[in-house]
């Protein structure tokens, strides 16, 4: 579904991503693991079209997307839930959701999209008139994911969905991700602490200093000694 081939990305003269190649198939859940500054968010930004790659290609469902604009890529079916949630705290839950459909075709059938999202997140239906900034961290993460789903994406990128959340809430977030996957959405999880993500995904990629250093099926990565030491918090 998404195929990245020898991608090189620069910030000015500084190269941040080196020769990245990865492939995520339809219906799969993949995890991108990496520590702070490894280039995870840069890769996300490149996929969504916020950062043009210097060389290499990104193909989505057989179509080159690496020169398209963000709204065009969203209309093709890729959506990102950015790191740190980035909700519009000055606006209501409903308004945040509506803006999630801003660039997409679902804007014309907004009620369908809302119904779908409210069924996945019943709590948001009750809270629709509340200000997004007044909700708890867990609820905000749910809203951020829901806002991402409003464009009815085929491919959803979640940048650090567990960041800053209590372990109990993280479990809840991953239950939701499981359900989204059951809805037929292909998911790319991007995480620093990889335990939950790998347990809930089919395969994983480890990004270090802008290069993919390990890749393979999730159960294999969970057993990998380097992964266990660096990203699962084991000594």
């Amino acid at each position: 579904m998404l195929e990245i081939n020898s991608l090189n990305v620069f910030y000015g003269d500084l190269q941040v991503l080196w020769d990245i190649s990865l492939k995520v198939d339809k219906g799969e859940t993949a995890t991108l693991i990496g520590s702070n500054g490894a280039g995870k968010t840069t890769l996300c930004k490149t996929i969504i079209g916020a950062l043009p790659p210097k060389t290499g290609s990104i193909t989505f469902m057989g179509k080159r997307i690496d020169k398209l604009s963000i709204p065009d890529i969203i209309r093709l079916g890729i959506t990102i839930v950015p790191e740190g949630r980035r909700l519009f705290g000055n606006m209501t839950v409903m308004e945040n959701l509506e803006l999630g459909a801003y660039a997409s075709e679902t804007r014309k059938k907004i009620d369908d999209a809302l119904e779908w999202v409210f069924n996945l997140f019943p709590v948001l239906r009750e809270r629709q008139n509340q200000l997004a900034g007044c909700m708890s961290g867990g609820e905000q993460q749910m809203l951020a994911i829901a806002r991402g789903l409003m464009s009815k994406p085929k491919f959803l990128i979640l940048d650090e969905p567990s960041l800053g959340l209590a372990p109990k809430i993280v479990t809840k977030v991953y239950e939701v991700i499981e359900r989204i996957r059951d809805e037929g959405v292909t998911v790319l999880l991007v995480e620093q602490y990889a335990g939950h993500a790998l347990e809930n995904s089919d395969k994983g990629f480890v990004l270090e200093n802008g290069k993919i250093v390990i890749e393979g099926p999730s159960e294999k990565l969970l057993k990998d000694e380097r992964v266990r030491k660096a990203y699962l918090g084991e000594e």
């Binding site: 916020a50 980035r86 519009f88 705290g89 000055n90 803006l99 801003y102 806002r147």
Partner: protein, 289 residues
């Protein structure tokens, strides 16, 4: 002076305050969304007044009717002005856009001087000079027109921000432009429309000011100062704040005139602003878009 004349004064202060609020809305929208103080704000209002003046002169129509032509023209001017000047300098920091508007202020003033000479102009029509009596009060018809227009414009902008996608995008972008970008909102396009909207509102304010006061090519700076006072007092970026700020300004002006004489009434206005900012540095409704 009897009590009724005093109530009359307060009432007209309120109406005048509506006109001041209307004058400030365009600056408020511009500052709230683009985070740029438009120094040329007053000059745009006077430009709109001259446009209306020419149209009224040419078509012999009512000043309010002239808005049907002036407002769309000003929308387009705002859109293009944002697209070709402000958007280009926005990435360079906070000062450059303000400098550009400052330059534009001078250009507009000189252009108007060239086209219309330095003579005083007005958009007044006879029916706005009649005396109205309402519950024993004598509201100025011109102030009342400004007041009613202010309420209509306020409601219209409010509904636009609340109910339309574009309006919501205009609230989202200044809150977090990076997040807006990630959900596919192009902030430069949103800015173009926001500047168009601001100038459309400025057009309405310009015509209402033209009806109420005489104007010259160099009157603009008076109104940008007044609007700036209103916007800062109400809180930068808050439309509600600008409405309330306008009312306070109107009252301060008439009461200042009443108690201290017309020589000191403007000084009294700015003294009121200073006191309010001393108590609430972020303005009355500051910190919200």
């Amino acid at each position: 002076m009897d009590i009724l004349s005093f109530v009359n004064l307060i009432f007209n202060g309120l109406l005048l305050g509506g006109l001041f609020a209307l004058t400030a809305f365009g600056l408020s929208v511009f500052a709230g969304i683009m985070r740029v103080i438009n120094i040329a704000h007053g000059d745009f209002a006077i430009l709109a007044a001259y446009l209306a003046f020419s149209i009224i002169d040419f078509l012999k129509i009512d000043p309010f009717l002239s808005l049907l032509i002036v407002a769309p023209i000003m929308f387009v001017i705002g859109y293009l002005f944002q697209k070709f000047t402000i958007n280009r300098v926005l990435p360079m920091g906070a000062n450059q856009p303000v400098l550009v508007t400052f330059a534009l202020s001078i250009v507009i003033q000189n252009l108007l001087l060239l086209l219309f000479t330095a003579d005083a102009r007005s958009l007044i029509t006879p029916y706005l000079l009649t005396n109205i009596e309402l519950f024993g009060l004598n509201p100025s018809p011109r102030y009342a027109a400004g007041f009613i227009s202010a309420l209509i414009v306020f409601a219209a902008i409010f509904i636009f921000f609340k109910k339309t996608y574009l309006g919501k995008a205009m609230r989202a972008v200044p809150f977090d432009s990076e997040a807006a970008k990630m959900i596919g909102i192009k902030s430069d396009v949103v800015y173009n429309y926001a500047a168009g909207l601001a100038m459309l509102v400025v057009a309405i304010a310009g015509v209402l000011l033209g009806i109420t006061f005489t104007f010259y090519p160099d009157t603009g700076p008076v109104y940008v100062l007044l609007s700036f006072g209103v916007v800062v007092m109400g809180g930068l970026g808050s439309l509600k704040g600008s409405l309330v700020g306008g009312f306070i300004m109107g009252e301060a002006l008439v009461l200042g005139g009443f108690f201290f004489g017309s020589r000191f009434q403007l000084m009294f206005c700015y003294l009121v602003i200073l006191i309010i900012l001393y108590i609430k540095p972020q303005g009355l409704f500051g910190g919200r878009v």
